[in-house]
Symmetry: C2
Subunit: 425 residues, 2 copies
């Protein structure tokens, strides 16, 4: 049993911050929260309290869409839209991951930076290379970070050195599953079925992926309706489907298992109905959508409509690994819809984006992303002394941290109750 | 005479980075650049070279629109549009600057952060309080940073505790000028005539400001066409004027002296003609325009049209003092125009925004913001080792620095040839 004392801030719902000034959080030996308290109950009085003073203790961040092999391209090559960007910059970089030495060097840095930025859980696209993907999974395990790791399926409209056959892909997914099962069914790192996107995968490959997801009971992640030209291309490639999402759906890759769909900038009408009906989690990636001039997903509309939304950086379409930046962008792009609607569509608040980056994303990993009883203790200890030089309220402190904070403010990081030390780089 | 060696990167024009790998910059005793060289000319061979190794040496940043008294509000109160935001959050904060102790405490932090972020020159709005504005000017001088400091004129539609009369304002401007003249006519800190914006200033006050600007030969700064409701309000307040800019123009505050106009999100038609004809510098503040849902200035159109454009953070409408962030936002919001025009309006490039943040803004201060001969040596030494772990080209390194860098990468700061140590906080 562990007890920590600090200013606790979390979001049980997206409506308001729950704040316990100098509160207590009790974490059991399984890393699960027993409760949070303003006054410590007598039953715990024998347990020593680790007091973090006036610092903030918040749920750790969850990045629900990120490409590990694009790490080297961070901050580069943002002068093209999605499809030429993929062909010119991204595919050539990903192709390098056939080289395990290269993969190790870049993936170590990637995992280190997730740790640094306080992202304790992530849904990760690797590449089409099985061995490098196993290596990436091992690096996550070594670091103690949680992740869904996806071996990426690509067998059409892709460079030769980045394709896998359906057989290779399915075998790779089995290998990854076997590899990770050695760490237990409840391990922090798990496989996820990952067709890159419809233009990269033949119907045969999609069908095989749907089958293996069902057979091995694996979740699914992919891209959906990110860019207008991409949507038009999918319509051309798969004329029998009623919408982009329907292509995934008819192959069992759209909610038959828990499913993440990144972007959804242009999901409407039937596709939006399908998203709702099949309980898809939409992963909003506003930083990337801005950089690649993709468009702005109608997130307020989705949320009002009951769609489950989470947040992603989409590195390296997004240029920064910090989920704080993703939160800032989520607010700011929502203000474009606000402005275009003459204020009729409310923009996202700091509380709502905090919820998206913690509890909403965490839900994909189980009971993660909040400080409620039964939740796994994923947390960041934040020292905002330099921001808190005047008489700021606790709510103002968290708002200022969202807008002004960065990795150097994070003093300690916990994932499923374990404190994580700095990974090797 | 000083000679520095490093990877020199600067932008003589907005079209391309000029890069001298391991080049030399020769700075004379007046702090002015004699030249930059790939090989050091023989005439300087007796002067010791300070070698910065593989680091980057770039022109320092110039923030052409920033509100010093809003520093405490950074990252707060971004849930309203401009006019209610001013009344609810900003004016009450500015009113506190009648208290010199409070002013000193906040202004010290403000000046410290400009130094920290590598902003060596800025065009600053203070408040309507003369004494606090003199204090702010002294803090800039003490720090060695360059600035135009504006005592803010406000005598209508403003809280009582934040108004000055026209007489008080004009006397305050004279006092500020006298105060700063003691440091010489060529001092790094100079006064600037600063009507807050048309809604805050009666025609009498504007007329008096136009007169004093002419009499004392002072530049002018204000806000223009930031928000649709503001534009409509100005039309209502000043029905005889043909456009918002025309109100300033008929009082001698629109290019009769060198003039900065922040925002210009809605400047078109006659106003745009007036901007061009009168050689107004438009200060683009994309971070603030995003936060306050003001709109997006058509900067590509302005640049194509020959308008002189510079860049500002507009703290605290902008939530971050870093000009790197201002550059990122300038690119990103330009991609909204790019997207809306189906790619017909090209977005801004990293080279163009670097130019805006250095040479284009620096022009308001003289020969500032480039490493060309005759330019004052304002420079930042950047250690990007952690970003430069692979075989990145010099151009890639500067691009990555723009997107991923922050204040901790700045190792040394120079303003007019003098190295600046950390100001007291």
């Amino acid at each position: 049993m562990k007890i920590y004392r600090a200013n606790l801030v979390f979001t049980p719902s997206c409506d308001a911050f729950c704040m316990l000034p100098r509160g207590y959080v009790v974490v059991n030996d399984a890393g699960v929260i027993e409760g949070v308290y303003e006054q410590l109950p007598a039953q715990w009085s024998a347990v020593p309290v680790e007091d973090f003073g006036d610092k903030l203790l918040i749920p750790a961040f969850n990045d629900l869409h990120i490409h590990a092999p694009q790490y080297r391209n961070l901050g580069l090559a943002l002068d093209l839209e999605l499809l030429p960007w993929l062909n010119t910059y991204t595919f050539p970089e990903e192709a390098k991951f056939c080289d395990l030495q290269y993969a190790k060097r870049i993936y170590r840095r990637f995992v280190h930076e997730l740790w640094m930025q306080g992202t304790m859980r992530s849904a990760v696209f690797a590449t089409a290379h099985t061995e490098a993907t196993l290596l990436l999974a091992d690096l996550f395990i070594e670091a103690g970070l949680g992740a869904y790791i996806g071996l990426v399926g690509m067998n059409r409209n892709s460079p030769d050195n980045l394709r896998n056959t359906t057989d290779q892909l399915i075998q790779g997914i089995r290998d990854l599953k076997t590899h990770l099962d050695r760490h237990g069914k409840q391990g922090l790192v798990q496989p996820i079925v990952t067709p890159r996107f419809v233009p990269s995968c033949t119907p045969d490959m999609l069908a095989a992926l749907g089958k293996i997801a069902h057979e091995l009971n694996l979740p699914v992640q992919s891209h959906l309706s990110e860019n207008k030209n991409e949507v038009a291309w999918v319509k051309q490639l798969e004329p029998d489907s009623t919408c982009y999402g329907d292509v995934y759906d008819r192959h069992g890759l759209f909610g038959q298992q828990p499913t993440l769909m990144a972007h959804c900038c242009y999901s409407e009408g039937e596709e939006l109905e399908l998203i709702k009906r099949n309980h898809i989690t939409v992963v909003h990636c506003p930083m990337s959508n801005s950089n690649l001039a993709s468009g702005i997903a109608p997130i307020r509309h989705f949320m009002n409509d009951g769609v489950h939304v989470a947040l992603g950086t989409d590195v390296s379409g997004g240029h920064n690994m910090s989920m704080l930046r993703a939160m800032q962008y989520a607010i700011q792009v929502s203000k474009v819809h606000y402005g275009n609607s003459q204020g009729k569509i409310p923009f996202l608040t700091s509380c709502e984006v905090f919820y998206l980056a913690t509890k909403a994303g965490g839900a994909f990993f189980g009971k993660v992303g909040s400080f409620e009883p039964g939740y796994e203790f994923d947390a960041l200890l934040i020292d905002d002394t330099y921001l808190n030089y005047d008489h700021y309220t606790l709510q103002q402190r968290i708002e200022r941290y969202i807008y002004l904070g960065d990795d150097r403010d994070i003093r300690r990081r916990f994932c499923r109750g374990q404190e994580l030390c700095e990974p090797k780089m």
